[in-house]
């Protein structure tokens, strides 16, 4: 009994410590976003007790920085890239999981290798490509690049999910009179919701947070939120309050997105249970 209690104490101490380590930066971000310039610069850092101000948010939302435009850009890029990745990746993964062809296993794993390349490495070629194709200052460029960056991982992930679905299910549907598209959308898709949800979370997050390529390839009207945030690093100094307010606002959409996607994961898990 006593042992049990001490063990719990150890466990929870460790957990609380870890939680603090992860939450501290987030708290710094949120709290700073509610501080005025003077409080931010104060030589003794104020963690909890200060007079909150909404000035930073007001500046961002109504001021010079076209926040609504950048938010829209980010949403368009994030959603389009996610949709495109799932659409293409889903079919690729399905083909990899089902079709028999030479080099299939190698190809499936090679997709992961591509994933190892950091976006910064492709920045210069991407810039050249985008200028050559006339896509500079066009959100489409970001959509395509983010899709390209996310695809390998999405394919690899969905490939694993497709492999778990027994072929007999598809054969049963075929015997039941389903066309290939009906098999895909009425039998496979409902069983793949978990997989697609996980892939969507990853893809959306990458597209939403990516900075370097977005910085290189966007113009005044095509900036995404992370790039816009960098705009607060001005020659007069770093506007910490606004940067942190921006950061706080940027976090919200992916949170909502993840929340809905996670629901699908659970829905998919209960629908699944393919094997008895």
């Amino acid at each position: 009994m006593k042992n049990e209690t001490t063990r719990y104490i150890y466990y929870y101490t460790a957990l609380i410590l870890l939680a603090c380590i992860s939450l501290a930066p987030i708290w710094v971000m949120i709290s700073t976003s509610f501080k005025d310039e003077v409080t931010v610069q104060s030589s003794t850092p104020l963690w909890f007790f200060f007079v909150p101000t909404f000035q930073n948010y007001a500046d961002i939302l109504t001021g010079r920085g076209k926040f609504d435009l950048y938010l829209m850009n980010s949403i368009i890029v994030g959603v389009s890239a996610t949709f495109l990745t799932l659409f293409i990746g889903g079919f690729c993964a399905y083909a990899l999981a089902r079709a028999r062809f030479v080099g299939r296993g190698f190809l499936a794993n090679a997709t992961l290798l591509v994933r190892m390349v950091p976006p910064a490495v492709v920045a210069v070629p991407a810039f050249a490509f985008v200028t050559l194709t006339g896509l500079d200052n066009d959100l489409a460029a970001l959509v395509f690049l983010y899709t390209a960056i996310s695809l390998p991982f999405a394919i690899w992930l969905l490939f694993g999910f497709y492999k778990q679905i027994p072929v007999e299910l598809e054969e049963a549907a075929v015997v039941d009179g389903a066309t290939p598209l009906q098999v895909f959308f009425r039998v496979l898709m409902p069983l793949m919701t978990s997989g697609y949800a996980v892939a969507a979370i990853f893809t959306f997050r990458i597209a939403w947070n990516e900075f370097i390529l977005a910085l290189l390839l966007t113009g005044r009207n095509t900036r995404t939120l992370p790039v816009a945030t960098a705009g607060f690093l001005t020659e007069e100094g770093v506007e910490w309050g606004r940067i942190m307010a921006m950061g706080t606002l940027i976090v919200i959409p992916p949170l909502i997105f993840t929340f809905f996607a996670a629901k699908q994961i659970i829905a998919g898990m209960t629908a699944g249970a393919v094997k008895g």
Partner: protein
């Protein structure tokens, strides 16, 4: 062209590997035919070709008098039950059963009526709203059958549907399947590796080995008149013992003799035995034709060295030794009998089988 299901000169090869060299099969309309054989004999491939899930390399397949060789499964008017049941996990029982009808765009009222009827027949009514994962193995199996029944297809195909069930459930599902066939009167083709399933349910059995049909016949025919040693040892449980032997004597004195035994040839086999006088033969003894005593004049004595005897209630299985070869005997015993040991046993010589030792064909 006649109705039923017909396979003509069907060949199946996967790349350079030929699975089925050439197969001809006629299944009459309304017949229950079981394809049986050890794993890898091509029985499942054959069924999948009939279903249209596997393309034939050569030959033709016709169902209900229509050449369907190159048609898709949908157009073949077939229903299939898979070994893994292949129930759609995201649909409930009713949706699983009605999926095909819904795809075909059948009117709602009709779908409901057919599902209700099938559910009643298979005692699934209380479970219509459940998902497959909330059902027991037997219930899932019945849903899989229900899915086929609802279709009311011309031909039903079963791919080892009972092999995932425990022994007791398997026996009761066998009865249900037989009943289902009687009620629906549809052509049914059933694949199994279990010869007991084949024997109990089939109108006719097709025994396959390495892609070649060994024998087609009623359960009675394949048990009593196996065409070769493969069929002889495959059908029957425990399986038949084959012993090398020679024929000797003539007329009523004719006998088959091997190491440690000599059994007279009964009148019904004398003719074949005479014709094969100079050939080396194999003699086939089924375990169930042994007895502890001579029940009539056709029983001949044979000495057995019993290594192990197994008590199974109605009889004892004896793993015995005859002239250095192992042999299985199943002898009926009364309730008081002790485990049997070495000694003289008797064999019913009318039930003795003779095969050509070289070709393995029956004499």
């Amino acid at each position: 062209m006649e109705r039923g299901v017909t396979l003509r000169n069907v060949v199946k090869a996967f790349g350079p590997v030929t699975i089925i060299p050439e197969l001809n099969l006629d299944v009459a309309e309304g017949e229950f035919v079981v394809l049986v054989g050890p794993s890898g004999c091509g029985k499942s491939t054959t069924l999948r070709m009939i279903a249209g899930l596997e393309k034939v390399t050569d030959g033709t397949i016709s169902i209900a008098g229509r050449d369907v060789t190159w048609e898709r499964p949908k157009q073949r008017d077939i229903a299939m039950v898979f070994q893994s049941y292949a129930l759609y996990p995201h649909m409930n029982v009713a949706q699983n059963m009605s999926f095909a009808l819904r795809l075909a765009g059948a009117p709602k009222a009709e779908i409901e009526e057919r599902v209700t009827r099938a559910a009643n027949m298979l005692e699934l009514t209380p479970y219509l709203d459940r998902r497959p994962k909330d059902l027991s193995g037997g219930q899932r199996q019945r849903v899989a059958m229900g899915r086929a029944v609802v279709r009311d297809a011309y031909c039903f195909l079963f791919d080892e549907p009972l092999s995932n069930l425990d022994a007791k459930l398997r026996a009761s599902m066998r009865t249900e399947l037989a009943l289902l066939h009687k009620r629906l009167g549809r052509t049914m083709i059933y694949v199994t590796h279990d010869q007991i399933e084949a024997m109990t349910m089939a109108d006719r059995i097709v025994i396959m080995h390495e892609g070649i049909v060994q024998q087609v016949g009623t359960p009675k025919e394949v048990y009593n008149s196996p065409v070769n040693t493969f069929v002889a040892t495959f059908i029957g449980s425990p399986s038949m013992t084959l012993l090398e032997a020679d024929l000797s004597g003539t007329g009523a004195k004719m006998a088959v003799q091997g190491d440690g035994f000599k059994l007279p040839i009964s009148a019904r086999q004398r003719k074949q035995a005479e014709a094969a006088k100079n050939k080396k033969v194999l003699v086939g003894l089924r375990p169930e034709h042994f007895a502890v005593e001579a029940l009539n004049k056709d029983f001949a004595p044979i000495d057995l060295k019993v290594k192990v005897s197994e008590y199974i209630g109605s009889s004892q299985f004896l793993a015995a030794d005859v002239g250095g070869k192992s042999l299985t005997a199943a002898v009926e015993v009364g309730p008081e009998a002790e485990l049997l040991g070495d000694g003289q046993y008797f064999f019913d010589t009318r039930r003795l089988y003779l095969f050509d030792r070289e070709s393995g064909e029956a004499l």
